[in-house]
């Protein structure tokens, strides 16, 4: 089932001589259970693509559909509700609220959506357990390590019935082992039926995706998918030396 569908998407900033084409005719479909990594040099349009997919920005031309709903056709309130309920965001700067505990941070999207405080807290506790932070409910962000904070941010991004997960350099400055934990979490959420977009400049992180899309100057220049047989690859000279 298709979760995210970008069709002929252009995004232009400014006009006249200062006009910048951030995206030029992007068509991309992502199904449930699929994680797609987006790679490309700075300024290639990666973040613009992510913002459009999450309804944080609107295309100059073309359409963005999330679970069949065209975002361009949504009013502000409908769009905000969709973003709150169906889309999870994980950013490099975690955006955890320092004055709220881990559980309160995670419960926030549910409470904003009108869920009762007690029920939201219970779900938040469960979400924290899922990211191996059982018992950390009452901790404040500054009482946790960077890796733990990132897991709180992930728990918040994944809570509720999120079908689309958007991650922008989610491993940030984490060390390689902790970064891997974050990617494993993202991967397992997607395997459970969500669709994921992972923007990264790190090939080792992008490798957790099913497909890797290379962007350059606002255009998709290539896509890497898996080979048929991993064994084939292990016997390829030059790759496994």
């Amino acid at each position: 089932m298709t979760i995210l569908e970008l069709t002929g998407v252009h995004r232009t900033h400014g006009s006249g001589e200062t006009e910048v084409h951030a995206l030029r005719g992007i068509t991309l479909t992502i199904a449930a259970g699929e994680l797609v990594a987006v790679m490309g040099p700075s300024g290639s349009g990666k973040s613009t693509l992510l913002n459009l997919a999450g309804g944080l920005d609107r295309p100059s031309q073309g359409t963005v559909r999330v679970e069949g709903t065209e975002l361009g056709g949504c009013g502000r309130r409908a769009l905000a509700a969709l973003r709150r309920r169906r889309i999870g965001y994980v950013f490099q700067d975690l955006n955890l609220l320092a004055s709220l505990t881990a559980a309160e941070n995670v419960a926030l999207p549910l409470e904003l959506d009108g869920m009762g405080r007690r029920k939201a807290a219970r779900l938040a506790g469960a979400a924290l357990s899922e990211v191996d932070l059982a018992g950390y409910d009452a901790r404040f962000p500054d009482e946790m390590s960077g890796g733990q904070q990132q897991r709180v941010a992930i728990a918040r991004a994944l809570i509720g019935d999120r079908r689309l997960i958007l991650a922008d350099e989610p491993t940030g400055a984490l060390d390689s082992q902790t970064g891997e934990t974050v990617l494993r979490l993202l991967r397992s959420k997607v395997d459970e039926g969500a669709a994921g977009v992972l923007v990264t400049h790190d090939a080792r992180h992008a490798a957790w995706a099913d497909r890797v899309v290379f962007l350059r100057d606002g255009v998709i220049v290539d896509t890497a998918g898996p080979l048929a047989e991993p064994d084939e690859l292990l016997n390829t000279p030059g790759v496994a030396r």
Partner: protein, 193 residues
């Protein structure tokens, strides 16, 4: 590295015959370095010639086991104590290919970079998939071999990104009337426009 040291290291565990050595070698490298039995026997006979291993009397099944000698142990210890020299590794065909692509008229270097990047990324995805398949950390030797391949592929991908960024300022090679060019420019050199 040659198969030679691999076999010496395995024989340090105890005497083994050819087929056992091949199986043990492949197990310890996670199947990333397949050996044929001929290679094993050729290497064993050279090791025997150099007094690094010695053949034991033939067993009932007709298999002949080998054991490591004192000189073999010393050779093995020296190998573990010596860092791997970069010059001992095979020449990097990819670097040479890109260098040639830069100076060969009519070659789209960016396309060469992108083709390689897609292949490297695909390899990286497969290695990662093998790694992700082990929910619990697999045996450490295999995991480390896999990580080595992942980091090597990552390094290649990063180098390709770097190449692409450098190419932005590099003019394409043109066919000169007098070939070969008097002064071919070196790869990596950024010429002013």
């Amino acid at each position: 590295m040659s198969v030679r040291y691999g076999l010496l290291a395995l024989l340090e565990r105890g005497p083994m015959y050819g087929y056992q050595l091949r199986t043990a070698f492949e197990e310890s490298t996670g199947g990333t370095w397949p050996l044929n039995i001929g290679q094993v026997y050729t290497t064993l006979s050279r090791l025997e010639r150099d007094d690094l291993v010695s053949a034991l009397p033939e067993q009932d099944g007709g298999q002949r086991s080998y054991e490591i000698t004192g000189a073999g142990r010393a050779e093995l210890a020296l190998w573990f104590a010596t860092p791997v020299e970069r010059a001992d590794r095979p020449r990097d065909e990819l670097a040479i290919k890109l260098a040639l692509a830069l100076t060969t008229p009519g070659v789209d270097v960016r396309a060469v970079v992108q083709t390689q990047r897609t292949a490297t990324m695909r390899a990286l995805q497969e290695f990662t998939r093998l790694k992700a398949a082990d929910a619990e950390p697999a045996e450490l030797p295999w995991r480390l071999v896999l990580d080595a391949m992942i980091f090597q592929a990552e390094a290649e991908a990063r180098w390709l990104d770097h190449c692409e960024a450098s190419l932005v300022r590099y003019p394409p090679a043109t066919r000169s009337a007098t070939a070969p060019a008097a002064q071919p420019h070196r790869p990596g050199e950024v010429r002013s426009r």
